[in-house]
Amino acid sequence: MNIFTTAVSAFFLFYVLESKEWPMHTICREPDLEWYYRSCDPLQDIGVSIEPCSKSLLETTYVKIALLLRRDFKWLTAKLNVFIQSLKVFSYSYSLCEPTSAYYTFCGRRKGELVYFEGPVKFGIQTIPQGEYNVSLELFNEDNYNIGCANITLISR
């Protein structure tokens, strides 16, 4: 918990005045695995923590995401693209919220609210093969407005 809090506070307290790009955040750095991410939302940064820092994502991974909403949403779709050296190797789209069916408590939130998710997520990946991966994660609402956006770099050795 403390590690998470420190990580989230660290970048939220960042004051970036001149750059047009948000700073790169470190999710974790171990000898065999490194995770970094950068917000690709022009308006704001995003908080992401993942634990444990392990190449095996078979077991439950604890994920924490903090995101401020610039728009309301009833529908929320997550789009994930994985690239190795600019070549798309994996693409996935998943509906997180629908007007008729709410899987998470944050479904149906309004502009200005903070979406804060903390909980176990199952990726179901045995082990991340060696290599450098660029992952783009985007969240869209019903009007195709980009609610959240992060470019993640993952280096597995």
Binding site: T5, S101, R110, G112, E113
Partner: protein
Amino acid sequence: MAFSKYFYGVILLCQVSFPASEAATTCREVTVNNTYSCEGLGLTEVPESLPFTTETLDFSFNILSALYSFTFSSLGKLVYLDLTRCQINWVFEEAFQSNPNLQTIVLVGNQLMYLADTAFAGPISLKHLFLTQTGLTCLMFVPMHNLDDLETLDIGSNPISAMQLPDSFPIKNLRYLDFQLNGIENILAKDVEILRQVTNLSLSLKGNSIKYIEPKAFYSNNFFSLNFAGCANMVDISVILAGLMGVSTHILKLGTFEDVHGVSEITSNMLQGLCNISVAELSLENMNFNDFSASTFQCMTRLQKLDLTRSNINFFPPDIENMSLLTELILNQNKFNNLCDINLASFSFLTHLHVNRNFESLQMGSGCLVKLLQLQYLDLSDSGIKSSNCCSSELKGLSNLKHLNLSNNDMLSLQDLAFPENSKLEILDFSCTHLQTSKSPFVNLQLLRALNLSQTSIDTNNQHLLQGLPNLTILDFKENRFLFDTIQNDNLFQFVPNLEVLILSSCELKFIGHQAFHMLKKLKHVDLSYNSLTTFSSNAFINTMYLNFAVNSIQIIPQEMVNNIPDNSIINLSHNPLDCSCSNIGFISWYKQNINKIEDPEDTMCGTPRAVEGTKLSALMISCGMSTEVILIIVLIVLLLIIATIFVIKCFLKKRYLSI
């Protein structure tokens, strides 16, 4: 603990500064003299440039820190004011005194530290107040003065621990009361007694970890909607239902959420309390039934709609009785192996059935739906369905079916006359399901209006595929292939003469026969985008109002083709390598004179010659042949020559005559 973390996050986010941008600091005019957006401009006061007539103002994501009686005094006509995340901590007395027409105040995401007793004084009839994520710890913090006409009060996502509604609580017009995601643990009858005087209220207590509700706390209340989803994680659902004893509500939500930890188990016994509640629509999403049996439904006999999405159900007991009022059953994201496992004979009055995104590969079985004589809407999408001889036995008995969704499944093989008993079908969706078809699968669907065959790998050589669909108006054929990537003059569309909308995008088409659509006299909307067409042919689309040829390989367009286009139609030619040399001058001139008919002119650009590649067609400067100036000069020279010749001849003749 959870709340302290949560609000820590909120407070931290309030300190975030955004990267410096060179964006304008003037508010955007949405409608003249009426609606303005100053969102995210970093403003510390209301700009003087906003007109007095402004009725709707989005002032979200600015920096105000405090609201005084003079803050909005220049905007006397305000009706809607959005102050989301403006870092407002103080709302002083009569902050809105100059805004008598104000109906909506949005204060979402401001850490309110002080609300004066007369903070909301001024507006004659304040109707909607949003106080979500404002850090309120107690309802008493909100002054009730001048809130008599309130219809919406949203105080969700705050750390309020008790729902003690004061005697002065505004109930006269109240329609929506939202207490979701607070820290309410106990609800006593006296706390909510005042709500007995309200009818048709929608009350949300979603996501409060309730430990105790006094039995009959809401007795004799008439609600429109009650949301107690995610509330029964510390206690079982019977505690909630006991508190709701004697209540009448149209909608009741009792399910839970993936991110709410704790109890999600449910037993038939726990649901006994439903017998003492009058409810029409019940949702039990994300619950796990320990003893799913006929007794689970014992107190659901008066239900009209039941939602059991993601409830880990793989069968329905066959002996469920007295469900004759139930017209809609939602069973999405469950674990059925076969439609027959739902034992739908118990639900013979259903008009709507949803079994989409089933977690197992669903078999449609034979005659499983035969008792559903009233069924009008059936959604079996995204459920891994494979069927080698669809669908006469699978959809047997559904004589009133109007809308069938079989999209995003594995593979369906449609037999001849595939829907013999479903002749009332109006909408049929097979998108993203691999289809194999016999000669004429839809032959009896006289009433079918819309057919989605996109991404179905359907056999487009079968000229009789669409036979028997005289009323088809919408046909989606996206991402299917045609033989030789060509639509011949003689093709499968001849059987759908009433077609109005035809989508043929991403079909890798290279050529369309000039007479390909000559039978389709009513065609209004044609989408041929994302193909490899090299010619623009409008002959085939005489009355078409919308033609999309975007992202093709069209270079030259003969002028006679565009001359045929009716006055009120729209065409899209963006992302084509259009030729901008003099050989295409006829089209370019037409384009410039008819720019109002063009969709997406920003992306309609020259492809050749290289010198003008990427230039917008609308901005192209081109001159072909002789210009008017040159012609004028030539005419002048000729005229001068003629005059000179006449003069010379005159002189010559004069000399001759003089010499005589």
